[in-house]
Amino acid sequence: MEAAATTIRLQGRRRHGELAVRLLLGLAALVSLLTTVGIVYALLEETVVFFGEVGAHDYLFGTKWTPLFEPASFGVLPLVAGTLATSAIAMLVAVPLGLGAAIYLSEYARPRVRKTVKPILELLAGIPTIVFGYFALTFFTPEILRAFFNLDVGIFNALAAGIIIGFLTIPIVASISEDAMRSVPQSLREGAFGLGASKLQVTMRVVFPAALSGIVASVVLAMSRAVGETMVVVIAGGLQPQWGADVGKSMETLTAFIASTAKGDVPTGSIEYKTLFAVGTTLFVITFVLNMFSIRFVRKYRQVYE
Protein backbone atom coordinates (compact mmCIF):
# COMPACT_ATOMS: atom_id res chain seq x y z
CA MET A 1 0.00 0.00 0.00
CA GLU A 2 1.48 3.33 -1.02
CA ALA A 3 2.63 5.80 1.60
CA ALA A 4 0.38 8.77 2.07
CA ALA A 5 0.55 12.19 0.50
CA THR A 6 3.62 14.23 -0.14
CA THR A 7 6.44 11.70 -0.02
CA ILE A 8 5.43 10.01 -3.25
CA ARG A 9 8.03 10.36 -5.94
CA LEU A 10 6.63 10.28 -9.41
CA GLN A 11 9.81 11.41 -11.02
CA GLY A 12 11.41 8.53 -12.76
CA ARG A 13 14.96 8.22 -13.86
CA ARG A 14 15.59 8.97 -17.52
CA ARG A 15 15.08 5.65 -19.14
CA HIS A 16 18.38 5.34 -20.97
CA GLY A 17 17.77 1.70 -21.75
CA GLU A 18 14.66 2.58 -23.72
CA LEU A 19 16.48 5.19 -25.76
CA ALA A 20 19.34 2.84 -26.50
CA VAL A 21 16.96 0.14 -27.67
CA ARG A 22 15.16 2.54 -29.93
CA LEU A 23 18.45 3.64 -31.46
CA LEU A 24 19.62 0.09 -32.09
CA LEU A 25 16.37 -0.84 -33.74
CA GLY A 26 16.50 2.24 -35.91
CA LEU A 27 20.01 1.28 -37.01
CA ALA A 28 18.73 -2.12 -38.07
CA ALA A 29 16.08 -0.42 -40.16
CA LEU A 30 18.85 1.57 -41.75
CA VAL A 31 20.35 -1.61 -43.22
CA SER A 32 17.51 -1.84 -45.71
CA LEU A 33 18.01 1.77 -46.74
CA LEU A 34 21.74 1.26 -47.08
CA THR A 35 21.10 -1.75 -49.31
CA THR A 36 19.35 0.42 -51.85
CA VAL A 37 21.93 3.14 -51.52
CA GLY A 38 24.60 0.51 -52.05
CA ILE A 39 22.91 -0.91 -55.11
CA VAL A 40 22.43 2.48 -56.71
CA TYR A 41 25.93 3.62 -55.86
CA ALA A 42 27.61 0.43 -57.05
CA LEU A 43 25.69 0.47 -60.31
CA LEU A 44 26.10 4.13 -61.05
CA GLU A 45 29.77 4.41 -60.15
CA GLU A 46 30.96 1.95 -62.76
CA THR A 47 28.28 2.91 -65.28
CA VAL A 48 29.42 6.51 -65.30
CA VAL A 49 32.98 5.41 -65.95
CA PHE A 50 31.68 3.10 -68.64
CA PHE A 51 29.83 5.92 -70.35
CA GLY A 52 33.04 7.85 -70.26
CA GLU A 53 34.75 5.21 -72.36
CA VAL A 54 31.84 4.07 -74.46
CA GLY A 55 29.45 6.87 -75.31
CA ALA A 56 26.03 6.73 -73.72
CA HIS A 57 24.49 7.22 -77.13
CA ASP A 58 26.34 4.26 -78.63
CA TYR A 59 25.27 2.15 -75.69
CA LEU A 60 21.63 3.07 -75.60
CA PHE A 61 20.98 3.08 -79.31
CA GLY A 62 23.51 0.71 -80.77
CA THR A 63 22.24 -2.53 -82.23
CA LYS A 64 25.36 -4.61 -82.08
CA TRP A 65 26.43 -6.18 -78.83
CA THR A 66 29.86 -7.72 -79.09
CA PRO A 67 31.74 -6.43 -76.08
CA LEU A 68 34.27 -9.20 -75.91
CA PHE A 69 35.22 -9.47 -79.55
CA GLU A 70 37.42 -7.38 -81.76
CA PRO A 71 36.22 -4.85 -82.80
CA ALA A 72 34.09 -4.39 -79.70
CA SER A 73 30.61 -2.97 -80.09
CA PHE A 74 28.51 -1.89 -77.13
CA GLY A 75 25.02 -1.34 -78.39
CA VAL A 76 22.68 -2.73 -75.75
CA LEU A 77 19.53 -2.94 -77.85
CA PRO A 78 19.90 -6.61 -78.76
CA LEU A 79 19.97 -7.48 -75.06
CA VAL A 80 16.93 -5.30 -74.47
CA ALA A 81 15.23 -7.02 -77.38
CA GLY A 82 16.00 -10.38 -75.86
CA THR A 83 14.62 -9.30 -72.51
CA LEU A 84 11.55 -7.82 -74.12
CA ALA A 85 10.89 -10.85 -76.28
CA THR A 86 11.14 -13.40 -73.48
CA SER A 87 9.11 -11.22 -71.12
CA ALA A 88 6.39 -10.60 -73.68
CA ILE A 89 6.10 -14.31 -74.40
CA ALA A 90 6.07 -14.95 -70.67
CA MET A 91 3.20 -12.55 -70.19
CA LEU A 92 1.25 -14.17 -73.02
CA VAL A 93 1.43 -17.37 -70.99
CA ALA A 94 1.18 -16.08 -67.45
CA VAL A 95 -1.65 -13.60 -67.79
CA PRO A 96 -4.36 -15.81 -69.31
CA LEU A 97 -3.41 -18.89 -67.31
CA GLY A 98 -2.87 -16.95 -64.10
CA LEU A 99 -6.06 -14.96 -64.41
CA GLY A 100 -8.01 -18.04 -65.39
CA ALA A 101 -6.75 -19.83 -62.33
CA ALA A 102 -7.45 -16.79 -60.15
CA ILE A 103 -10.99 -16.34 -61.38
CA TYR A 104 -11.71 -20.00 -60.91
CA LEU A 105 -10.31 -20.08 -57.39
CA SER A 106 -12.02 -16.88 -56.37
CA GLU A 107 -15.45 -17.28 -57.89
CA TYR A 108 -16.09 -20.88 -58.76
CA ALA A 109 -14.05 -23.28 -56.67
CA ARG A 110 -15.39 -24.94 -53.57
CA PRO A 111 -13.43 -24.30 -50.38
CA ARG A 112 -11.94 -27.79 -50.43
CA VAL A 113 -10.64 -27.33 -53.94
CA ARG A 114 -9.11 -24.01 -52.94
CA LYS A 115 -7.45 -25.57 -49.95
CA THR A 116 -5.82 -28.22 -52.12
CA VAL A 117 -4.88 -26.03 -55.05
CA LYS A 118 -3.38 -23.09 -53.20
CA PRO A 119 -0.51 -25.10 -51.70
CA ILE A 120 0.20 -26.49 -55.16
CA LEU A 121 0.50 -22.98 -56.52
CA GLU A 122 2.75 -22.10 -53.59
CA LEU A 123 4.87 -25.11 -54.49
CA LEU A 124 5.11 -23.84 -58.06
CA ALA A 125 6.20 -20.47 -56.72
CA GLY A 126 8.82 -22.02 -54.49
CA ILE A 127 10.67 -24.14 -57.01
CA PRO A 128 14.09 -22.65 -57.75
CA THR A 129 14.42 -21.18 -61.21
CA ILE A 130 17.36 -23.39 -62.03
CA VAL A 131 14.97 -26.32 -62.02
CA PHE A 132 12.83 -24.53 -64.59
CA GLY A 133 15.92 -23.83 -66.65
CA TYR A 134 16.81 -27.51 -66.61
CA PHE A 135 13.28 -28.42 -67.61
CA ALA A 136 13.26 -25.90 -70.45
CA LEU A 137 16.52 -27.12 -71.92
CA THR A 138 16.26 -30.86 -71.45
CA PHE A 139 12.56 -31.50 -71.88
CA PHE A 140 10.55 -28.58 -73.12
CA THR A 141 12.60 -27.69 -76.17
CA PRO A 142 13.43 -31.17 -77.40
CA GLU A 143 10.24 -33.05 -76.45
CA ILE A 144 7.51 -30.47 -76.65
CA LEU A 145 8.55 -27.74 -79.05
CA ARG A 146 10.55 -29.83 -81.46
CA ALA A 147 9.08 -33.31 -81.17
CA PHE A 148 5.46 -32.61 -80.31
CA PHE A 149 4.83 -29.33 -82.11
CA ASN A 150 7.42 -29.96 -84.78
CA LEU A 151 8.76 -26.43 -84.58
CA ASP A 152 12.08 -25.64 -86.13
CA VAL A 153 13.76 -24.05 -83.14
CA GLY A 154 17.36 -24.03 -82.00
CA ILE A 155 18.38 -25.93 -78.90
CA PHE A 156 18.63 -22.53 -77.25
CA ASN A 157 15.71 -20.35 -78.10
CA ALA A 158 13.78 -17.44 -76.69
CA LEU A 159 10.43 -19.11 -77.20
CA ALA A 160 11.05 -21.95 -74.78
CA ALA A 161 12.63 -19.59 -72.26
CA GLY A 162 9.71 -17.20 -72.51
CA ILE A 163 7.08 -19.87 -72.11
CA ILE A 164 8.77 -21.40 -69.10
CA ILE A 165 9.26 -18.01 -67.48
CA GLY A 166 5.57 -17.37 -68.05
CA PHE A 167 4.80 -20.64 -66.39
CA LEU A 168 6.85 -19.83 -63.32
CA THR A 169 5.27 -16.40 -62.92
CA ILE A 170 1.73 -17.78 -62.98
CA PRO A 171 1.60 -17.89 -59.16
CA ILE A 172 2.30 -14.15 -58.95
CA VAL A 173 -0.58 -13.28 -61.25
CA ALA A 174 -2.83 -15.90 -59.72
CA SER A 175 -2.36 -15.14 -56.05
CA ILE A 176 -2.48 -11.35 -56.17
CA SER A 177 -5.40 -11.31 -58.61
CA GLU A 178 -7.28 -13.84 -56.56
CA ASP A 179 -6.65 -11.78 -53.46
CA ALA A 180 -7.98 -8.69 -55.23
CA MET A 181 -11.09 -10.47 -56.45
CA ARG A 182 -11.88 -11.98 -53.10
CA SER A 183 -11.72 -8.55 -51.52
CA VAL A 184 -14.59 -7.41 -53.68
CA PRO A 185 -17.52 -7.28 -51.24
CA GLN A 186 -20.10 -10.00 -51.57
CA SER A 187 -22.79 -7.35 -51.65
CA LEU A 188 -21.69 -6.28 -55.14
CA ARG A 189 -22.12 -9.81 -56.46
CA GLU A 190 -25.43 -10.22 -54.73
CA GLY A 191 -26.69 -7.00 -56.21
CA ALA A 192 -25.87 -8.19 -59.71
CA PHE A 193 -27.31 -11.66 -59.17
CA GLY A 194 -30.40 -10.04 -57.81
CA LEU A 195 -30.87 -8.29 -61.13
CA GLY A 196 -30.81 -11.60 -62.95
CA ALA A 197 -27.23 -11.70 -64.20
CA SER A 198 -25.58 -15.04 -64.88
CA LYS A 199 -22.46 -16.12 -63.08
CA LEU A 200 -20.31 -15.38 -66.08
CA GLN A 201 -21.73 -11.89 -66.32
CA VAL A 202 -21.29 -11.20 -62.62
CA THR A 203 -17.72 -12.44 -62.69
CA MET A 204 -16.58 -10.60 -65.78
CA ARG A 205 -18.71 -7.48 -65.54
CA VAL A 206 -18.79 -6.82 -61.81
CA VAL A 207 -15.99 -8.61 -59.97
CA PHE A 208 -13.28 -8.37 -62.57
CA PRO A 209 -13.58 -4.60 -63.13
CA ALA A 210 -13.86 -3.99 -59.40
CA ALA A 211 -10.61 -5.86 -58.82
CA LEU A 212 -8.88 -4.33 -61.81
CA SER A 213 -6.21 -2.33 -60.02
CA GLY A 214 -5.09 -5.37 -58.06
CA ILE A 215 -5.07 -7.43 -61.23
CA VAL A 216 -3.02 -4.84 -63.09
CA ALA A 217 -0.63 -4.71 -60.14
CA SER A 218 -0.16 -8.46 -60.34
CA VAL A 219 0.56 -8.35 -64.07
CA VAL A 220 3.08 -5.55 -63.72
CA LEU A 221 4.79 -7.37 -60.87
CA ALA A 222 4.90 -10.54 -62.96
CA MET A 223 6.42 -8.54 -65.81
CA SER A 224 9.07 -7.20 -63.48
CA ARG A 225 9.78 -10.73 -62.35
CA ALA A 226 10.07 -11.93 -65.93
CA VAL A 227 12.44 -9.13 -66.83
CA GLY A 228 14.67 -9.98 -63.89
CA GLU A 229 14.68 -13.72 -64.45
CA THR A 230 18.15 -15.10 -65.02
CA MET A 231 18.59 -18.85 -64.76
CA VAL A 232 15.97 -19.91 -67.27
CA VAL A 233 17.38 -17.64 -69.94
CA VAL A 234 20.99 -18.46 -69.15
CA ILE A 235 20.36 -22.15 -69.46
CA ALA A 236 17.76 -22.29 -72.20
CA GLY A 237 17.51 -18.93 -73.91
CA GLY A 238 20.92 -18.77 -75.46
CA LEU A 239 23.99 -16.61 -75.07
CA GLN A 240 24.04 -15.14 -78.57
CA PRO A 241 22.50 -11.70 -78.71
CA GLN A 242 20.08 -11.12 -81.54
CA TRP A 243 18.86 -7.84 -82.89
CA GLY A 244 15.74 -9.26 -84.41
CA ALA A 245 12.58 -11.09 -83.57
CA ASP A 246 13.30 -14.71 -84.38
CA VAL A 247 12.25 -16.24 -81.10
CA GLY A 248 13.10 -19.68 -82.41
CA LYS A 249 16.74 -18.81 -82.07
CA SER A 250 19.01 -17.69 -79.29
CA MET A 251 18.32 -14.24 -77.86
CA GLU A 252 20.61 -13.21 -75.06
CA THR A 253 18.91 -11.09 -72.40
CA LEU A 254 20.28 -8.45 -70.06
CA THR A 255 20.33 -10.93 -67.20
CA ALA A 256 21.87 -13.75 -69.23
CA PHE A 257 24.71 -11.50 -70.25
CA ILE A 258 25.47 -10.50 -66.68
CA ALA A 259 25.43 -14.09 -65.46
CA SER A 260 27.51 -15.56 -68.25
CA THR A 261 30.09 -12.79 -68.13
CA ALA A 262 30.43 -12.86 -64.35
CA LYS A 263 30.94 -16.59 -64.47
CA GLY A 264 34.44 -16.13 -65.77
CA ASP A 265 36.93 -14.29 -63.64
CA VAL A 266 36.48 -10.65 -64.50
CA PRO A 267 39.31 -8.37 -63.41
CA THR A 268 38.20 -5.23 -61.60
CA GLY A 269 38.42 -2.20 -63.86
CA SER A 270 38.41 -4.12 -67.11
CA ILE A 271 35.90 -3.24 -69.77
CA GLU A 272 34.01 -6.50 -69.14
CA TYR A 273 33.70 -5.56 -65.48
CA LYS A 274 32.22 -2.24 -66.44
CA THR A 275 29.75 -3.75 -68.86
CA LEU A 276 28.36 -5.81 -66.00
CA PHE A 277 27.41 -2.65 -64.20
CA ALA A 278 26.13 -0.78 -67.21
CA VAL A 279 23.83 -3.64 -68.15
CA GLY A 280 22.94 -4.03 -64.48
CA THR A 281 21.89 -0.42 -64.34
CA THR A 282 19.71 -0.84 -67.41
CA LEU A 283 18.07 -3.86 -65.81
CA PHE A 284 17.59 -2.08 -62.50
CA VAL A 285 15.99 0.96 -64.09
CA ILE A 286 13.49 -1.13 -66.03
CA THR A 287 12.44 -3.19 -63.02
CA PHE A 288 12.39 -0.16 -60.75
CA VAL A 289 9.90 1.62 -62.98
CA LEU A 290 7.74 -1.50 -63.19
CA ASN A 291 7.89 -2.00 -59.41
CA MET A 292 6.90 1.55 -58.59
CA PHE A 293 3.98 1.21 -60.96
CA SER A 294 2.88 -2.01 -59.37
CA ILE A 295 3.19 -0.73 -55.81
CA ARG A 296 0.95 2.21 -56.62
CA PHE A 297 -1.67 -0.11 -58.07
CA VAL A 298 -1.59 -2.35 -55.02
CA ARG A 299 -2.13 0.70 -52.82
CA LYS A 300 -5.07 1.72 -54.94
CA TYR A 301 -6.89 -1.55 -54.67
CA ARG A 302 -6.17 -1.94 -50.98
CA GLN A 303 -7.48 1.53 -50.28
CA VAL A 304 -10.81 0.97 -51.91
CA TYR A 305 -11.90 -1.94 -49.82
CA GLU A 306 -10.00 -1.71 -46.57
Partner: protein, 296 residues
Protein backbone atom coordinates in the same frame (compact mmCIF):
# COMPACT_ATOMS: atom_id res chain seq x y z
CA UNK B 1 -46.40 -7.49 -65.31
CA UNK B 2 -42.69 -7.93 -65.74
CA UNK B 3 -41.20 -6.83 -69.01
CA UNK B 4 -39.90 -10.36 -69.33
CA UNK B 5 -43.32 -12.03 -69.42
CA UNK B 6 -44.96 -14.19 -66.81
CA UNK B 7 -43.44 -17.55 -67.55
CA UNK B 8 -40.20 -18.27 -65.73
CA UNK B 9 -38.37 -20.80 -67.79
CA UNK B 10 -35.01 -22.49 -67.42
CA UNK B 11 -31.94 -20.66 -68.65
CA UNK B 12 -31.60 -20.98 -72.42
CA UNK B 13 -29.33 -23.71 -73.66
CA UNK B 14 -27.16 -21.10 -75.31
CA UNK B 15 -26.58 -19.41 -72.01
CA UNK B 16 -25.93 -22.65 -70.24
CA UNK B 17 -23.42 -23.64 -72.87
CA UNK B 18 -21.64 -20.34 -72.53
CA UNK B 19 -21.46 -20.62 -68.77
CA UNK B 20 -20.18 -24.16 -68.98
CA UNK B 21 -17.60 -23.31 -71.61
CA UNK B 22 -16.35 -20.44 -69.49
CA UNK B 23 -16.11 -22.60 -66.41
CA UNK B 24 -14.25 -25.29 -68.32
CA UNK B 25 -11.86 -22.74 -69.79
CA UNK B 26 -11.01 -21.48 -66.32
CA UNK B 27 -10.54 -24.97 -65.02
CA UNK B 28 -8.39 -25.62 -68.06
CA UNK B 29 -6.06 -22.78 -67.09
CA UNK B 30 -5.61 -24.28 -63.67
CA UNK B 31 -5.14 -27.73 -65.16
CA UNK B 32 -2.45 -26.59 -67.58
CA UNK B 33 -0.51 -24.87 -64.81
CA UNK B 34 -0.71 -27.82 -62.47
CA UNK B 35 -0.18 -30.29 -65.29
CA UNK B 36 3.02 -28.65 -66.43
CA UNK B 37 4.24 -28.67 -62.84
CA UNK B 38 3.49 -32.37 -62.67
CA UNK B 39 5.37 -33.06 -65.91
CA UNK B 40 8.34 -31.10 -64.62
CA UNK B 41 8.50 -33.07 -61.40
CA UNK B 42 8.04 -36.41 -63.11
CA UNK B 43 10.73 -35.52 -65.62
CA UNK B 44 13.17 -34.62 -62.88
CA UNK B 45 12.45 -37.83 -61.01
CA UNK B 46 12.82 -39.97 -64.12
CA UNK B 47 16.08 -38.30 -65.04
CA UNK B 48 17.63 -38.22 -61.64
CA UNK B 49 16.28 -40.97 -59.43
CA UNK B 50 18.72 -43.42 -60.86
CA UNK B 51 21.74 -41.37 -59.87
CA UNK B 52 20.45 -40.50 -56.43
CA UNK B 53 22.16 -42.69 -53.89
CA UNK B 54 24.38 -42.32 -50.85
CA UNK B 55 27.49 -42.24 -52.98
CA UNK B 56 26.07 -39.24 -54.70
CA UNK B 57 25.59 -37.42 -51.42
CA UNK B 58 28.97 -38.32 -50.08
CA UNK B 59 31.20 -37.73 -53.06
CA UNK B 60 32.64 -34.56 -54.39
CA UNK B 61 32.32 -33.52 -57.97
CA UNK B 62 34.57 -35.20 -60.43
CA UNK B 63 35.63 -35.20 -64.07
CA UNK B 64 34.22 -38.66 -64.33
CA UNK B 65 30.49 -38.52 -64.12
CA UNK B 66 30.04 -41.82 -62.30
CA UNK B 67 32.12 -40.71 -59.42
CA UNK B 68 30.73 -37.21 -59.05
CA UNK B 69 28.68 -36.24 -56.06
CA UNK B 70 27.20 -33.33 -54.25
CA UNK B 71 28.93 -33.28 -50.89
CA UNK B 72 30.81 -30.02 -51.27
CA UNK B 73 27.75 -28.31 -52.64
CA UNK B 74 25.51 -29.63 -49.88
CA UNK B 75 27.83 -28.45 -47.14
CA UNK B 76 28.39 -25.18 -48.93
CA UNK B 77 24.66 -24.62 -48.97
CA UNK B 78 24.41 -25.47 -45.28
CA UNK B 79 27.14 -23.00 -44.40
CA UNK B 80 25.56 -20.31 -46.56
CA UNK B 81 22.18 -20.84 -44.91
CA UNK B 82 23.80 -20.59 -41.50
CA UNK B 83 25.41 -17.24 -42.27
CA UNK B 84 22.25 -16.05 -43.94
CA UNK B 85 20.08 -16.95 -40.95
CA UNK B 86 22.45 -15.35 -38.46
CA UNK B 87 22.17 -12.17 -40.46
CA UNK B 88 18.50 -11.98 -41.34
CA UNK B 89 17.07 -12.97 -37.97
CA UNK B 90 18.43 -10.14 -35.83
CA UNK B 91 18.39 -7.48 -38.53
CA UNK B 92 15.02 -8.50 -39.95
CA UNK B 93 13.26 -8.82 -36.61
CA UNK B 94 14.79 -5.60 -35.29
CA UNK B 95 13.67 -3.72 -38.38
CA UNK B 96 10.18 -5.18 -38.12
CA UNK B 97 9.95 -4.17 -34.45
CA UNK B 98 11.17 -0.68 -35.23
CA UNK B 99 8.66 -0.18 -38.05
CA UNK B 100 5.71 -1.74 -36.24
CA UNK B 101 6.20 -0.58 -32.65
CA UNK B 102 8.29 2.54 -32.66
CA UNK B 103 8.18 4.37 -35.97
CA UNK B 104 5.74 7.22 -36.26
CA UNK B 105 3.97 6.62 -39.56
CA UNK B 106 3.41 10.27 -40.23
CA UNK B 107 7.12 10.94 -40.52
CA UNK B 108 8.28 10.91 -44.10
CA UNK B 109 11.46 8.99 -43.46
CA UNK B 110 9.57 6.05 -42.03
CA UNK B 111 7.35 5.94 -45.09
CA UNK B 112 10.46 5.98 -47.26
CA UNK B 113 11.85 3.00 -45.37
CA UNK B 114 8.60 1.10 -45.91
CA UNK B 115 8.46 1.91 -49.61
CA UNK B 116 12.10 0.98 -49.95
CA UNK B 117 11.51 -2.45 -48.47
CA UNK B 118 8.65 -3.08 -50.87
CA UNK B 119 10.89 -2.14 -53.77
CA UNK B 120 13.80 -4.25 -52.56
CA UNK B 121 11.51 -7.26 -52.42
CA UNK B 122 11.05 -6.98 -56.16
CA UNK B 123 14.60 -6.17 -57.31
CA UNK B 124 15.98 -8.97 -59.53
CA UNK B 125 18.18 -11.34 -57.56
CA UNK B 126 21.09 -10.91 -59.94
CA UNK B 127 21.33 -7.25 -58.93
CA UNK B 128 22.00 -8.39 -55.37
CA UNK B 129 24.85 -10.39 -56.84
CA UNK B 130 26.25 -7.23 -58.35
CA UNK B 131 25.88 -5.50 -54.99
CA UNK B 132 27.73 -8.33 -53.29
CA UNK B 133 30.45 -8.28 -55.89
CA UNK B 134 30.99 -4.54 -55.61
CA UNK B 135 30.90 -4.17 -51.82
CA UNK B 136 31.50 -7.52 -50.17
CA UNK B 137 33.69 -9.59 -52.46
CA UNK B 138 35.72 -6.70 -53.78
CA UNK B 139 35.40 -3.02 -52.95
CA UNK B 140 35.49 -1.76 -49.37
CA UNK B 141 35.09 -5.04 -47.50
CA UNK B 142 37.14 -7.09 -49.92
CA UNK B 143 36.20 -10.38 -48.36
CA UNK B 144 36.92 -12.40 -51.46
CA UNK B 145 34.75 -15.13 -52.91
CA UNK B 146 34.09 -16.69 -49.55
CA UNK B 147 31.26 -18.13 -47.50
CA UNK B 148 30.75 -14.96 -45.50
CA UNK B 149 30.28 -12.87 -48.64
CA UNK B 150 27.92 -15.43 -50.15
CA UNK B 151 25.83 -15.73 -47.01
CA UNK B 152 25.54 -11.97 -46.56
CA UNK B 153 24.60 -11.45 -50.21
CA UNK B 154 21.81 -14.00 -49.92
CA UNK B 155 20.84 -12.44 -46.60
CA UNK B 156 20.42 -9.02 -48.16
CA UNK B 157 18.33 -10.61 -50.90
CA UNK B 158 15.80 -12.24 -48.56
CA UNK B 159 15.90 -9.64 -45.78
CA UNK B 160 12.77 -7.87 -47.10
CA UNK B 161 10.83 -11.14 -46.83
CA UNK B 162 11.75 -11.49 -43.17
CA UNK B 163 10.89 -7.87 -42.43
CA UNK B 164 7.50 -8.13 -44.12
CA UNK B 165 6.65 -11.42 -42.40
CA UNK B 166 7.87 -10.08 -39.07
CA UNK B 167 5.68 -7.00 -39.34
CA UNK B 168 2.63 -9.10 -40.07
CA UNK B 169 3.37 -11.33 -37.10
CA UNK B 170 3.74 -8.32 -34.80
CA UNK B 171 0.64 -6.67 -36.19
CA UNK B 172 -1.37 -9.81 -35.44
CA UNK B 173 -0.79 -9.37 -31.71
CA UNK B 174 -3.83 -7.41 -30.47
CA UNK B 175 -3.26 -3.97 -29.03
CA UNK B 176 -5.15 -5.01 -25.89
CA UNK B 177 -2.11 -7.04 -24.88
CA UNK B 178 0.15 -4.02 -25.21
CA UNK B 179 -2.32 -1.86 -23.30
CA UNK B 180 -2.67 -4.41 -20.53
CA UNK B 181 1.08 -4.60 -20.14
CA UNK B 182 1.69 -0.83 -20.19
CA UNK B 183 -1.14 -0.26 -17.73
CA UNK B 184 0.74 -2.41 -15.23
CA UNK B 185 3.73 -0.09 -15.47
CA UNK B 186 5.85 -1.94 -18.02
CA UNK B 187 7.91 0.19 -20.39
CA UNK B 188 7.49 -0.09 -24.14
CA UNK B 189 10.53 -2.32 -24.57
CA UNK B 190 9.51 -4.54 -21.65
CA UNK B 191 6.12 -4.91 -23.26
CA UNK B 192 7.63 -5.80 -26.63
CA UNK B 193 10.29 -8.14 -25.29
CA UNK B 194 8.11 -9.99 -22.82
CA UNK B 195 4.67 -10.01 -24.43
CA UNK B 196 4.51 -8.95 -28.06
CA UNK B 197 7.61 -10.62 -29.43
CA UNK B 198 7.05 -14.01 -27.77
CA UNK B 199 3.53 -14.05 -29.15
CA UNK B 200 4.85 -13.23 -32.63
CA UNK B 201 7.61 -15.84 -32.69
CA UNK B 202 5.70 -18.54 -34.62
CA UNK B 203 4.87 -16.13 -37.41
CA UNK B 204 8.42 -14.81 -37.48
CA UNK B 205 9.89 -18.31 -37.53
CA UNK B 206 7.66 -19.28 -40.43
CA UNK B 207 8.77 -16.17 -42.29
CA UNK B 208 12.44 -16.93 -41.67
CA UNK B 209 12.09 -20.49 -42.93
CA UNK B 210 10.32 -19.32 -46.06
CA UNK B 211 13.04 -16.75 -46.63
CA UNK B 212 15.70 -19.42 -46.27
CA UNK B 213 13.87 -21.68 -48.69
CA UNK B 214 14.03 -18.86 -51.20
CA UNK B 215 17.71 -18.28 -50.53
CA UNK B 216 18.60 -21.94 -50.84
CA UNK B 217 17.59 -22.10 -54.50
CA UNK B 218 19.14 -18.84 -55.67
CA UNK B 219 21.79 -19.27 -58.32
CA UNK B 220 22.26 -15.94 -60.10
CA UNK B 221 23.65 -13.89 -57.18
CA UNK B 222 26.13 -16.64 -56.34
CA UNK B 223 27.30 -16.79 -59.94
CA UNK B 224 28.01 -13.09 -59.95
CA UNK B 225 29.91 -13.05 -56.69
CA UNK B 226 31.98 -15.94 -57.91
CA UNK B 227 31.04 -19.12 -56.15
CA UNK B 228 33.33 -21.88 -57.30
CA UNK B 229 31.93 -24.51 -59.60
CA UNK B 230 34.65 -27.08 -59.17
CA UNK B 231 35.68 -27.55 -55.60
CA UNK B 232 36.77 -30.66 -53.80
CA UNK B 233 36.40 -29.73 -50.17
CA UNK B 234 33.70 -28.68 -47.74
CA UNK B 235 33.92 -25.20 -46.24
CA UNK B 236 35.81 -25.03 -42.97
CA UNK B 237 35.09 -21.46 -41.98
CA UNK B 238 33.65 -18.16 -43.00
CA UNK B 239 36.69 -17.48 -45.13
CA UNK B 240 36.55 -20.67 -47.14
CA UNK B 241 35.90 -20.83 -50.82
CA UNK B 242 32.60 -22.49 -51.41
CA UNK B 243 30.15 -23.90 -53.84
CA UNK B 244 26.44 -24.37 -53.39
CA UNK B 245 23.83 -26.79 -54.64
CA UNK B 246 22.31 -24.56 -57.31
CA UNK B 247 25.78 -23.68 -58.58
CA UNK B 248 26.80 -27.32 -58.79
CA UNK B 249 23.60 -28.20 -60.58
CA UNK B 250 24.21 -25.33 -62.99
CA UNK B 251 27.72 -26.54 -63.69
CA UNK B 252 26.50 -30.04 -64.43
CA UNK B 253 23.71 -28.71 -66.67
CA UNK B 254 26.26 -26.72 -68.65
CA UNK B 255 28.26 -29.84 -69.19
CA UNK B 256 25.16 -31.82 -69.93
CA UNK B 257 24.62 -30.11 -73.22
CA UNK B 258 27.95 -31.31 -74.49
CA UNK B 259 27.93 -34.68 -72.88
CA UNK B 260 24.30 -35.41 -72.53
CA UNK B 261 24.48 -38.88 -71.11
CA UNK B 262 27.03 -38.26 -68.46
CA UNK B 263 26.05 -35.28 -66.42
CA UNK B 264 22.38 -34.90 -67.03
CA UNK B 265 21.34 -37.52 -64.47
CA UNK B 266 23.60 -35.84 -61.95
CA UNK B 267 22.01 -32.48 -62.54
CA UNK B 268 18.60 -34.08 -62.13
CA UNK B 269 19.68 -35.88 -58.97
CA UNK B 270 20.97 -32.62 -57.57
CA UNK B 271 17.63 -31.05 -58.40
CA UNK B 272 15.85 -33.80 -56.53
CA UNK B 273 17.99 -33.28 -53.45
CA UNK B 274 17.27 -29.56 -53.62
CA UNK B 275 13.53 -30.10 -53.97
CA UNK B 276 13.52 -32.58 -51.11
CA UNK B 277 15.30 -30.07 -48.90
CA UNK B 278 12.74 -27.45 -49.86
CA UNK B 279 9.82 -29.72 -49.14
CA UNK B 280 11.30 -30.50 -45.75
CA UNK B 281 11.75 -26.83 -44.93
CA UNK B 282 8.27 -25.89 -46.06
CA UNK B 283 6.90 -28.82 -44.12
CA UNK B 284 8.54 -27.51 -40.97
CA UNK B 285 7.16 -24.04 -41.65
CA UNK B 286 3.64 -25.35 -42.08
CA UNK B 287 3.90 -27.52 -38.98
CA UNK B 288 5.15 -24.55 -36.97
CA UNK B 289 2.32 -22.41 -38.15
CA UNK B 290 -0.32 -24.99 -37.33
CA UNK B 291 1.10 -25.99 -33.99
CA UNK B 292 1.97 -22.65 -32.48
CA UNK B 293 -0.27 -20.12 -34.17
CA UNK B 294 -2.03 -18.11 -31.52
CA UNK B 295 -5.75 -17.83 -31.85
CA UNK B 296 -6.71 -14.59 -30.21
Amino acid sequence: MSAHGETVGRPSSARRAKDLAFRLALLGCLAVAIGLLGILLVDAVLDGAGALDWDFINSFTSITADKAGIQAALWGTIWLMGVCALFIIPVGVATAIYLEEYADETRWWNRVIELNIQNLAAVPSIVYGILGLAFLVRGPLNLGQVVLAGGLTLGLLVLPMVIIAGREALRAVPSSIREGSMALGATQWQTIWRQVLPAAVPGIATGVILALSRAIGETAPLIVIGAATVIFANPTGLGSDFTAMPIQIFDWISRASNDINDYRPLAAAGILVLILLLLAMNGVAIWLRNRYEQKW
